[in-house]
């Protein structure tokens, strides 16, 4: 999955060695290497502490997303002119964005704007929610945020799934929403959430919104999620940790369970991003079945620090 040129490898090694020599954390060192070509993963975090007020929160969400994408090598790396892009947030449950059960609408809207700026022809936003989409979408605030930018909000038609060859370990043929697979690029934009069974739901598990008949997945969630992730061939994921749901996920509903962390990560490796996300929840990545299974399937690396990683700080 991860292909490194020899030059890249040498450069990383040099940086790492230098960092080691000067006793600096690898993360902060790589920040110095900003804007020098693409990276595998980028983390943007807010310098401030405490909880920003509503207005500041909005501005920071936009900035964090912009900077994370920029540090990843810019959206043009993924979006070509005239492309049809599907942005897949997590809008599974009918909850207000403050309750951190759905992706931050400002993060989604920023991505929509970046895609259009990069010349995308169509940007569609949609999910296959657990609750009725006609209730989850408006409550999440996402349609309101993206429609004014010209994105299409799609209400999926469950009678129009198609049996596709997933060819995974568990799932051989499965009903998939064709419009989500047949776009030029899917940007997966989940939120970091606690999950009772899987312990956490982030990038990989968000791909469950691409298929129907998901109920049986739970009996072997790690394999099923890894199967779907492999089928979807992730190219870019943006992990929203502006708000993180620490307990009682994935539905949440109590403001006490929400932790405002003001971070956004972007990357090409869903396993690495999930490992980073797990740490946001205070869970070791190797305790999460989907992550270990993902690594086993060769979908990415759990140890995200070994990738070409950039960290940027937003003030």
């Amino acid at each position: 999955m991860q292909k490194h040129s020899r030059r890249e490898f040498l450069a990383h090694s040099a940086v790492a060695a230098g960092a080691f020599a000067f006793g600096v954390q690898p993360g902060s060192q790589s920040q110095a290497a900003e804007a020098s070509g693409p990276s595998d993963m980028a983390i943007a975090r807010w310098q401030g502490t405490g909880t920003p007020d509503d207005k500041q929160f909005k501005e920071l969400s936009v900035k964090l997303t912009e900077r994370a994408i920029e540090a990843l090598g810019g959206i043009k790396r993924f979006v070509s002119r005239g492309a049809v892009v599907w942005i897949k947030p997590n809008i599974a449950f009918e909850r207000k964005p403050e309750l951190a059960a759905t992706t931050n609408p400002d993060v989604v809207a920023t991505l929509v704007r970046l895609c259009f700026d990069a010349g995308a022809k169509t940007v569609r936003v949609g999910d296959n929610p657990v609750h009725d989409a006609r209730r989850t979408y408006p409550t999440s605030g996402i349609p309101e945020a993206v429609e004014k930018l010209g994105a299409e909000v799609v209400y999926l038609d469950r009678a129009r799934t198609r049996e596709m060859k997933v060819d995974g370990e568990r799932l051989k043929m499965h009903p998939v929403f064709p419009e989500m697979v047949e776009c030029d690029l899917m940007i997966n934009v989940p939120i970091v959430k606690h999950h009772g069974l899987a312990r956490a739901t982030m990038c990989m598990k968000n791909y469950m919104g691409v298929v129907e008949n998901r109920r049986v997945f739970h009996q072997d969630i790690a394999t099923c999620v890894a199967d779907i992730t492999r089928f979807m061939k992730p190219r870019i994921c943006v992990l929203d940790a502006t708000r993180v749901l620490l307990r009682n996920g994935p539905t949440g509903g109590r403001i006490e369970d929400v932790d405002v962390q003001m971070q956004v990560a972007a990357g090409i490796d869903p396993v690495a991003l999930d490992a980073w996300g797990a740490e946001r929840l205070g869970v070791k990545p190797n305790e999460i079945g989907t992550i270990t299974k993902g690594q086993e399937f060769g979908l990415g690396k759990m140890d995200y620090r070994t990738l070409s990683l950039r960290e940027v700080v937003v003030v």
Binding site: H131, R134, R158, L197, H218, T251
Partner: protein, 542 residues
């Protein structure tokens, strides 16, 4: 009035369109609530006002709008039946079609003694209402039309559209360059967005509702506006109010040739042969007679109520038959109440404690069973607005008295945590209009695992879809990691789910999402329901 019938037809059309528009707008639309006046036609219906007042001793404020109808009726007769009632409009439309089909064999109809039947029916029903039975409203024309359209006609149409468009869509691939789905798919999308409620909404027992509805419409082939003339309880109530209205038909005997054209065109069979013996209580003020008369011998004119001219013939109700109806109504109610499934006042529940129907999960905010049944008109408005399609008409779950009243069937749709629409739209407040925060605490029932086939309990595999979807912020379903021994002697940890009885609100999403379809591993019953202290067997721990 020249062009009277034409004007009446226009008003009828507008009224029917408004009725259907309100019905269609009451579906789940993204980010929009149904119109605040969704219940308009119920509010202006005097029968619902009278029945709710008699049965529940309650007068929901908006129902007082029906006094306007009463006033109009006292002044101008059964204008409501002839001009406003959407069910009446449908009958006159079907009658018009029948006239076109069988115009040669059309018999001239005149007043028939059988038209008294509706008054006797009403008397029986009102006697029942006096003792607390609200059953009359399930035969109210507005209710009948709303329920039939919501639960039978629209879902039937939706099913036909969904199935046929899907068939065309799947067929497309085999047709090569010919693409019929290029036409059908946009149509389907339009209908899904602008007409239909939720995905595959359908209702239990809608067959019977449809049979009644189609039967009543078909009766027009036998007698035009059969329902309005012979059976409609609202028509009977308005008929009683319009025994001597201010607007009356006046016949100029001098020019009348007794050609009988007026009676031939009469929608209500208000007169005897050759236009004599006009009965105000049977007249819909449709103005057909006036326009049909070739010599202009007929006209509607204003008169004082104490004047007996022009002659207003009474319908001649018999006291003996009236008494029989009253006794019949009372006996029917007693019969209903003797059923083991009927509501009981003492227990606030069903059946003298004999039989509990665990599947009778009433909507959030529903009053205690007896009070609920005394108000519910079974109109289907709550079922229409329910975003998940989980509210379904009862068949016999609440006894015959509770026929077509709403209950939640979690396998068809759960009660959405952030929704309180059913209480907002209920015209008689049988479902109380709870605020959202109160609704979230209102218990519909309690979930219980059936460990004999719940997947983790019975088969030792993790599952937890129910826990995942539980909308209660603290999670009413929790799991305990338990060591189990498999068949081969291998030890394994399984997350075994349990229900927290203190937190569960009985919304039913757990039952709805359980992978075991048909026989879910977790089921909701109405135990612990907030509305009924007699049915709260589990003491709270905190």
């Amino acid at each position: 009035m020249p062009g009277g019938p034409r004007l009446r037809g226009a008003v009828q059309a507008v009224s029917l369109i408004l009725f259907l528009w309100l019905l269609v707008m009451a579906r789940q639309r993204p980010g929009a609530e149904p119109p605040s006046f969704s219940g308009f036609f119920f509010w202006i219906d005097p029968l619902i006002l009278v029945a709710t007042f008699l049965a529940a001793h309650a007068v929901p404020v908006l129902l007082l709008s029906a006094l306007a109808t009463v006033l109009v009726t006292l002044v101008a007769g059964r204008v409501f039946c002839g001009w406003i009632c959407p069910f009446g409009t449908l009958h006159s439309a079907v009658g018009w079609v029948c006239d076109r089909i069988w115009h040669k064999g059309r018999k001239r109809e005149h007043w028939s003694g059988w038209q008294r039947a509706k008054y006797y029916v009403l008397a029986g029903f009102l006697a029942m209402a006096l003792l607390g039975g609200h059953w009359v409203t399930i035969f109210d024309p507005i209710v009948l039309l709303y329920r039939s359209t919501t639960t039978a006609l629209l879902p039937g149409l939706q099913w036909a559209v969904e199935e046929s468009s899907t068939a065309v869509f799947n067929w497309d691939a085999k047709l090569g360059p010919l693409k019929p789905s290029a036409v059908t798919e946009p149509c389907r999308k339009f209908l899904r967005e602008h007409l239909f409620a939720v995905d595959s909404q359908s209702f239990i027992g809608s067959e019977l509702i449809l049979v009644v509805f189609v039967g009543l419409l078909a009766a027009n082939a036998f007698r035009r506006r059969w329902w309005c003339r012979y059976a409609c309880p609202t028509g009977a109530l308005l008929g009683l109010l319009s025994i001597r209205p201010l607007l009356r038909r006046a016949l100029a005997e001098s020019t009348c040739t007794k050609c009988d054209l007026c009676s031939a065109n009469c929608q209500g069979n208000a007169a005897d042969g050759s236009g004599s013996g006009w009965r105000a209580s049977e007249c819909f003020v449709c103005l057909n007679c006036e326009s049909a008369c070739r010599r202009s011998s007929l006209a509607f004119e204003w008169d004082w109520p104490w004047r007996s001219e022009p002659v207003v013939t009474s319908v001649g109700l018999s006291r003996r038959a009236m008494m029989m109806s009253v006794v019949g109504g009372i006996c029917t109610l007693w019969f209903f109440r003797s059923s083991p499934r009927a509501s009981s006042k003492r227990l606030g529940y069903q059946a003298r404690g004999l039989v509990f129907e665990p599947g009778l999960i009433r909507p959030p905010g529903a009053r205690a069973e007896r009070e609920f049944i005394q108000r519910c008109t079974a109109c289907g408005l709550c079922m229409k607005v329910c975003p998940t399609g989980g509210l379904q008409p009862c068949v016999f779950e609440a006894g015959l008295e509770g026929l077509w009243t709403p209950r939640l069937v979690p396998q068809l749709g759960h009660c959405a945590y952030e929704c309180n629409l059913c209480g907002q739209v209920c015209p008689t407040e049988a479902i109380m209009p709870l605020k959202l925060e109160d609704k979230k605490k209102f218990r519909l029932g309690l979930a219980a695992f059936d460990t004999t086939h719940c997947i983790p309990h019975a088969y030792g595999r993790d599952c937890m879809v129910c826990e995942e979807c539980c909308p209660v912020p603290e999670k009413a379903i929790y799991f305990i990691e338990t060591r189990i021994v498999t068949r081969t002697g291998e030890e394994r940890t399984v997350k075994l789910p349990h229900v927290d009885a203190d937190l569960c609100i009985g919304c039913g999403i757990c039952e709805n999402v359980c992978p075991l379809r048909g026989n879910p591993g977790i089921r909701v019953t109405n135990a612990n329901e907030s509305r009924n202290p007699a049915n709260q067997p589990i003491l709270p721990e905190r």
